[in-house]
């Protein structure tokens, strides 16, 4: 017996379906063939009776009206049957066998014949126990019931034949069933074997061996399952790599300001607190500490976003004003590398959002643009309406991102060049913040040509704003208050 499982279930299903179909077909077939055999014999006898009736019309009965039984018997005689002639009451007058029946005949064919039909009865002879068919018909002379002719034929050979046919049909059915079972076993194996392999490999993966892969060319759902698992393992490996990179880069990021802080504090300490030197040192320490705080805050933000604990206060934000502010903030940084910032905006590109968070997003985007731009280039900020959306595009002509990296840049901790400094969290945070504002962030880039980052946010219409503004006046974010 096959042990419990999909294999058994498949085989059982096949078995049940095919078995019941075969059973039904067999039963119908056997019934049909049985009635074919019986009906053929019946109609053969019936035909003979009809023929003899026609013939009998031309035979004049003796003038005293008494029918000559012996003549009737020889006229109606039919091969392979026993012929009986009965009076209308059903008593046997004469029969073709050498013996009179021992018991009177009370089978249903007689009563059917008496009521004017052709009687047919299939049953067992009382003494010999033989299966027989009896066909009876009332014959009339001059419009009056005269006698019943009754043919009895043995069905032994027919039944034997039917048994043979039944056995054959059963044999064929068994063969078909066996064949189907073999096929279904094959099919079950083709499903179960890959499943077992996949299970074994995923068990290994669960133990931490992410370098194993599911080999073999599986089809359809199984193939998808296998490749998904493989992909999962690959992704786990990659994200581990990203995390390791992050840790190494964050420790590097943390160490640089700390080294600087430590160095300066030691210098001040050993330098006898020269006021000039101390001032420079303290300034640097403060700056580096700020940088550390910014770094830690970024990490905190990200962790909040991850745990869905980021709180945003929605208000009316004019993106044009927001972007102008950002341009001012980053002016010095851009100026250092002789990069010019240009803004091209529609009037009143209003969105509903948290001004601080949105500022954080665009600061990050523009900062990145400056970071990866060549010197003496332009960064274009463009604000347009697109249907019910406000679209902000940050376009630079910098180093661009290769196609391989393009899909990963929004991942947390991913950095094209881990040694370049930063946490690799900027874009990931920006993306999540935009999504928090029901918007989308898209990156289009070509290596060596430049990058365009598109932020699409739902537009806040003027009328709604008026109503909402009154209601939320008290909670207006800083950016709006400046209007």
């Amino acid at each position: 017996m096959i042990k419990k499982g999909i294999r058994r279930q498949i085989v059982m299903h096949y078995f049940i379906v095919v078995f019941s179909t075969l059973l039904l077909a067999e039963v119908i077939f056997l019934l049909a063939i049985r009635s074919y055999y019986y009906d053929s014999i019946y109609s053969h006898i019936k035909q003979h009776i009809t023929l003899m009736e026609e013939y009998q019309k031309f035979i004049t009965t003796s003038d005293d009206g008494r029918t000559d039984l012996t003549n009737l018997l020889s006229n109606y005689k039919l091969k392979f049957t026993e012929l009986q002639i009965l009076n209308p009451q059903g008593d046997v007058l004469i029969n073709s066998s050498e013996f009179q029946p021992d018991v009177s005949i009370k089978t249903s064919d007689i009563s059917q014949a008496q009521s004017g039909n052709i009687g047919r009865w299939v049953g067992r002879q009382p003494i010999t126990g033989e299966d027989v068919m009896a066909v009876s018909k009332m014959e009339q002379t001059n419009g009056q019931d005269a006698y019943i002719v009754r043919y009895v034929t043995s069905l032994e050979r027919v039944n034997e034949k039917l048994l043979n046919v039944t056995l054959l049909a059963t044999g064929v059915a068994a063969a078909v069933l066996a064949l189907v079972l073999a096929f279904s076993l094959g099919l079950a194996n083709s499903i179960v074997k890959p499943l077992n392999t996949i299970t074994a490999i995923s068990a290994q993966m669960a133990k931490g061996k992410f370098n194993v892969r599911i080999k073999g060319d599986y089809k359809y759902e199984l193939g998808e399952l296998a490749s998904t698992l493989n992909y999962m393992a690959q992704e786990i490996v990659r994200s581990n790599q990203v995390k390791d990179d992050f840790i190494s880069s964050i420790s590097h990021e943390l160490r640089t300001p700390l080294t600087s802080i430590k160095g300066w504090s030691e210098t001040i300490n050993s330098g006898g607190y020269d006021p000039e030197e101390t001032k420079i040192g303290m300034e640097i320490i403060t700056k580096e500490t700020e940088r550390l705080i910014g770094l830690v805050e970024e990490i905190l933000d990200f962790s909040k976003l991850q745990q869905n604990e980021m709180k945003v206060v929605f208000g009316r934000v004019d993106l044009k004003e927001l972007l102008q502010e950002i341009m001012l903030n980053l002016w010095t940084k851009a100026e250092k590398r002789s990069i010019q910032l240009r803004l091209d905006s529609v009037d009143k590109p209003l969105v509903e959002g948290d001004a601080n968070r949105l500022k954080q997003v665009f600061l990050n985007l523009v900062d990145n643009a400056i970071k990866f731009s060549h010197e003496n280039s332009f960064i274009d900020l463009q604000v347009t309406f697109e249907g019910n959306n406000v679209v902000v595009q940050v376009h630079d002509t910098g180093i661009g991102i290769s196609e391989d990296h393009l899909v990963k840049v929004k991942d947390r901790f991913f950095q094209v060049d881990p040694l370049n400094g930063g946490t690799g969290l900027g874009l990931a945070i920006s993306q999540q913040l935009v999504e928090l504002h029901h918007g989308i962030l898209l990156i289009q880039s070509e290596l060596g040509v430049g990058t365009t980052i598109v932020v699409r946010l739902p537009r806040l219409l003027e009328e709604e704003t008026a109503v909402q503004a009154q209601e939320t006046q008290m909670q207006l974010p800083e950016g709006s208050r400046n209007e």
Binding site: I33, Y36, Y37, Y38, S40, I41, H44, D63, D64, G65, L69, T70, K79, F80, T81, E82, N87, P88, Q89, L93, I94, N95, S97, E98, F99, Q100, Q114, S115, G116, Q125, I127, T128, E130, V132, N142, G143, Q144, D145, V152, T153, S154, E156, R157, V158, K161, N164, V165, L168, G171, V172, A174, A175, V176, A178, L179, L181, A182, L185, G186
Partner: protein, 448 residues
Amino acid sequence: MVKRNWLYIPAALLLVMMLSGCSFITDPVQLMKTPELSAEKESLRSIIEANRPENSTLIRANAEEDTNIIHFVDLDNDGVNEAVVFYETSEQNIGIHGMIFKKTGDAWAKQTTFDGEGKVLESLYFKDMTNDGHMEIVAGFSGKSDNETEEDLQNGLIIYSYNGKNVERILELPYTNYVISDMNRDHMNDLTVVNLKRGESNFITTYQYKDGSFIELDKLEMKPYIYNYYNVAAGKVYADSEGNSVEGIVLDASLSPVGESSITSIIVMEDGKLKSVLPKEDQTLRMYRVYSEDINGDGIIEIPLLEPPAGWSYFKNQDDVPYFYAYYQWDGKSGLKFVAEKFHDFKNDFDFGYFPPQLHNKITVDTKSQLGKYLRFVATDTGKTIAEIKYFTQSEWDKQSDDWKYLYRTNGKVIGYKKNFDFDVMNNNKNKSKDEVPPIERKDRQSE
């Protein structure tokens, strides 16, 4: 590997089926078979088959008490039935032979074969003719073959006696008709033989077995101017009021081969002498052949006469006359006594009556009636209508069946009747068969 084995099994199975020559469908008619007999019957049948010569067929007698081919009779009076069969061969001299089989234990064995005479077994009876408790075989033979239309009056009668081993002929006689009865009332069967030579002689002789041979009890000469006896019945012909009955023989004779007219003779034995009790034979003269038989169940044979209803005697065409069947018994002297009367339609073969006895001679058919269309039975004295018979086609009958009651049905005709007098119209029709009324008419009959 495993999968392959799976495939081999059904393939092998199929191959075995094919090679075993089991043709799937055969003509069902080819599979028909004569039903088997029970083992005991089959063993007897096969013994008989084995003992009868080739090209012979088992035969039945033209007249006998049953229709069996194999007769089971206790011939040697040992309480176990022997089996007697007759068969015919194409031999020229003696075409008919008989065989006797005896059962010992469970097996049948042939005891003896005996010869018959002529070519046809006319009659066969098993009767104790010697009064010794053993059955004798009484067989009548004739030499006629099928293509001879003229009926040969000369047949041969043989009585065989079986003693347990051999068959012995104890009587051989030429005969025209014979009956076995007890004419001299000694409670022993005697044999009365009619020997008719058309136009030459006509003798009736009664034989009885006595002391090892048959002796002639008496011989009566009759007039030879008849064609043949179409019905010979033996039985009671008279009973007086004290219940004393007279046994006799009733002979229905047809007078010529062409006409249908017939007469009846009654022969009784008085003081050991045969006597024809109706001296004037023309008092039984009839225009058609009719059969003498016991119609009222009193055990006495009635003689039918055909009487035209009053007023119809002068019709020339006999076929137009609606004859009444009047049944008579012998009155014990030389006359006849009326018993019952009915109307019978020859053409359509149905009865109407019997009429009540008090209407005898007082009922007739209106002469305007026409056979096959409409008959009106009227009282002769008052002229009142007693009953009517009308012949309908099926469609006419369907239109009205309320006024007329169903009487009889023939091919294409339904006969209905009305009656104003209380008598059982169906009497004789009913005797013939209780179920002869077609099912669609049963309701009508039940509502009568």
